[in-house]
């Protein structure tokens, strides 16, 4: 494998490191062949019959673009194995707020995935907003994640996932958990 293709390949990363990705992205269930885990666009996912979604023996995740509303998903969260929130460009920050709402407010317990323009300088923000996994293809991000160099700070000034309140500290401050 040449270095270039290796760098451009999408890899899945979570707090524990790189991992295999069982999911494929497809426009519809039919288009997904017999893949055991598939991510559908929001409209296709919402178009599925509730029964199919519940009884299917495959995992059916959903992809949400920044301009799309997560509201229609909220009463179905317990049936969704994965929600992928898009970052078409690193500076489109809408998916951070959706991550916060899904994980913090609505208790989504499935996999929350960041896809798109995932760069090393945003990794900590994404984890703290509630993302479990990141789909990474940027070479510098891959290199730094490989070296476990997250560009983290020793403390945070806001509540966020993966952090704990400091003993005796101000209520808004946190330090990385464990």
């Amino acid at each position: 494998m040449s270095e270039t293709t290796e760098q451009n390949e999408k890899q899945l990363w979570g707090r524990e490191g790189f991992r295999n990705d069982p999911y494929i992205e497809a426009e519809s269930l039919d288009a997904a062949g017999d893949a055991p885990a598939v991510i559908l666009p929001l409209a296709a996912w919402l178009g599925l019959d509730d029964d199919i979604r519940r009884t299917s023996n495959r995992r059916i995740g959903v992809m949400v673009a920044p301009g799309e509303d997560i509201e229609p998903l909220l009463d179905k969260l317990d049936t969704i194995p994965l929600i992928a929130l898009q970052f078409p460009a690193f500076n489109d920050g809408r998916s951070y707020s959706k991550a916060e709402l899904l994980k913090g407010r609505h208790g989504f317990s499935g996999e929350l995935r960041a896809v798109g323009d995932v760069l090393i300088d945003q990794v900590v923000f994404m984890l703290r907003a509630g993302f479990d996994t990141l789909q990474v293809s940027n070479p510098i991000a891959l290199e730094r994640l490989n070296a476990s160099d997250l560009h983290d700070t020793p403390g945070y000034y806001q509540p966020g996932r993966g952090s704990a309140q400091t003993a005796g500290g101000y209520s808004w401050r946190r330090t990385p958990a464990g």
Binding site: D92, M126, T153, P154, W172
Partner: protein, 556 residues
């Protein structure tokens, strides 16, 4: 004032290390400019016409002598011996080399300062009344809450990539010196009937190409809800603010297009879900931050009343300076001194390294070690005993810092304009200088009275021209600089956006045009007590337009 604890020191140090690494990788070629640009902007580094520019935050405008000395030393060691104080309580260095900037950030960290979030689409440096903690008319000091907001907004994981920049200002007095109604969020700290602290909340103010006055969406928000309510506002904005057009991306456009009532409903709904969250401020934490801002213990200095009166009678120059640049302190034996950075014919907001050091020395000896930076591009000594005013004045005189023009026609706000700025279309500073020279005679300025002239070199309005009593906007037309004039703007508790008079004026004509406006005002005011803005509000634009364009005015 606030002091960093270990948590803050470690946080800032980590950020400086990160940036050091990024600069190194840029200089070695590992990072391209496209990759580096967002990283440098997060640390306040711009590329301007002649060099890089570093914008350093002065949170809510408060500095110690040690910090000011450091700002002066950085100007001398890494720059060309001066810095520029901006309309958002920042200081800008115009000539740093890229490789030196991490060292500058190291030196700033030594004195508990940084350049984080002075650029980018994030929550910017939180600004406050520059007389906070000293002014006689203050209900409560807004700075503890500005500090809480500063901390909470630092590298906020959810709010670092907003549709556009986001500016918050806080004031603690009825008379608004912080221009809160021109901010994305304006907070008016006040007390309710029970004596509890809370905020009047304004959203959607802003300048730029679509100036808007902020809307009051809450009369009294309890202090403990500050972070939850701010989070609700910024979250609704982050999710729904426009991202298709950068000129329509500020929250003011969302307010305008959604409607204040509907947007307020969305914010309140979001807030109800957040109100009892971890963001609720415990009174103990408010108190702990408040402790840092306890007013200094000021010894009684009643002898100042007599000595000041004598000194004023003996020296008309000193008397004029006291009358113009000293405002009442809550302690009757003290005054709040405005140090004008607007010498006649000078560059608004610029200060040399020596001037910064002199101000630091004076603050240490005569102002409880405190200095403020105002959004009007002046410096402030907040706690000077009346008995010490003469000494302070004499010291300021030694380096051109005693110009008696605070609030007068020569106390001009001007952005750097085309002399420095990569975005500018026309120059601002030379226009400010010529106006200053035209009206610089003390008797003439005093006769004209309170008059705020504000000049921007492009529609981004860093020079706040929309809210100048007289505003000047520089544009480029057929390769020439052209200046449009607006009248009747104001950024205090009654905020208004100025109205354009008509066709613009060339660089040669513009000072004469300003003089015509001023002469027209002098001719129609009911008396000295009716200042320019009051007169304009009474008579409207017509007499001024006629003076500028003749009787068959374009307004007809």
């Amino acid at each position: 004032m606030y002091r960093y604890d270990e948590f803050d020191h470690a946080f800032v140090a980590a950020r400086v290390e990160q940036f050091k690494d990024q600069v190194q990788r840029r200089l070695s070629g590992e990072l391209t400019e496209d990759q580096f640009k967002p990283l440098r902007l997060m640390n306040g580094v711009y590329l301007q016409l002649h060099a890089y520019m570093l914008r350093v935050a002065v949170p809510y405008g408060t500095l110690s002598a040690k910090q000011m000395r450091k700002l002066g030393s950085i100007a001398r060691v890494y720059d060309r011996g001066y810095g520029h104080f901006t309309t958002r309580q920042n200081i800008q260095y115009n000539w740093p080399a890229l490789g030196d900037i991490p060292k500058i950030l190291d030196e700033l960290a030594e004195v508990e300062m940084h350049a984080m979030q002075t650029s980018g689409n994030c929550i910017r440096n939180v600004t406050a009344d520059h007389f906070a903690g000293a002014a006689a008319d203050e209900v409560a000091d807004p700075r503890p809450f500005a500090e809480i907001l500063r901390q909470w907004s630092s590298l906020h994981p959810e709010f670092s990539f907003l549709p556009r920049k986001f500016k918050i200002a806080v004031t603690g007095a009825e008379h608004d010196r912080a221009a809160i109604q021109t901010h994305d969020i304006g907070l008016h700290l006040k007390k309710n009937a029970a004596g509890e602290l809370g905020f009047g909340v304004y959203i959607g103010g802003g300048q730029g190409r679509t100036p808007m006055v902020a809307k009051n969406i809450r009369d009294f928000l309890p202090a403990e809800d500050l972070l939850s309510y701010t989070t609700a506002i910024v979250r609704v904005y982050n999710l729904h603010g426009r991202r298709d057009n950068k000129y329509k991306a500020r929250i003011k456009i969302l307010v305008h297009e959604t409607g204040t009532e509907e947007l307020t409903r969305q914010i309140e709904a979001e807030w109800r879900a957040l109100k009892e969250s971890d963001l609720k401020l415990p009174q103990g934490d408010i108190n702990a931050i408040d402790t840092y801002f306890r007013p200094p213990v000021l010894p009684e200095r009643p002898e100042g009343w007599g000595t000041l009166a004598v000194a004023k009678r003996a020296d008309a120059g000193f008397a004029a300076w006291v009358d113009q640049n000293v405002t009442p302190h809550r302690h009757p034996d003290y005054g709040v001194v405005t140090i004008s950075l607007k010498p006649i014919g000078g560059i608004p907001g610029d200060a040399s390294a020596e001037q910064m050091e002199l101000v630091a020395d004076i603050a240490e000896k005569f102002s409880q070690d405190e200095i403020r930076v105002s959004h009007e591009q002046n410096l402030v000594l907040p706690h000077v005993a009346l008995a010490d005013l003469r000494t302070v004045y004499d010291l300021l005189l030694t380096d051109g810092l005693a110009t008696a023009n605070a609030g007068l026609i020569t106390d001009i706000i001007a952005c750097p304009g085309l002399d420095y700025c990569a975005l500018a279309n026309a120059r601002s500073i030379p226009v400010a200088q010529r106006i200053s020279e035209r009206f610089g005679a003390p008797a003439r300025q005093s006769e004209i009275g309170d008059l705020k002239i504000k000049i921007s070199g492009c529609i981004n309005a860093c020079g706040h021209h929309h809210v100048g009593h007289i505003g000047i906007l520089g544009v480029e037309k057929k390769g020439e600089e052209l200046y449009q004039i607006t009248l009747g703007g104001s950024a205090d508790e009654i905020t208004t956006v100025g109205e354009i008079t008509g066709r613009g004026f060339s660089s040669e004509e513009v000072v004469d045009a300003i003089e015509k406006i001023v002469d027209t005002y002098l001719g129609l005011r009911t008396g000295r007590q009716e200042n320019f803005l009051a007169a304009y509000r009474r008579v409207g634009a017509a007499p001024f337009k006629e003076a500028l364009y003749g009787p068959v005015s374009r307004a007809a």
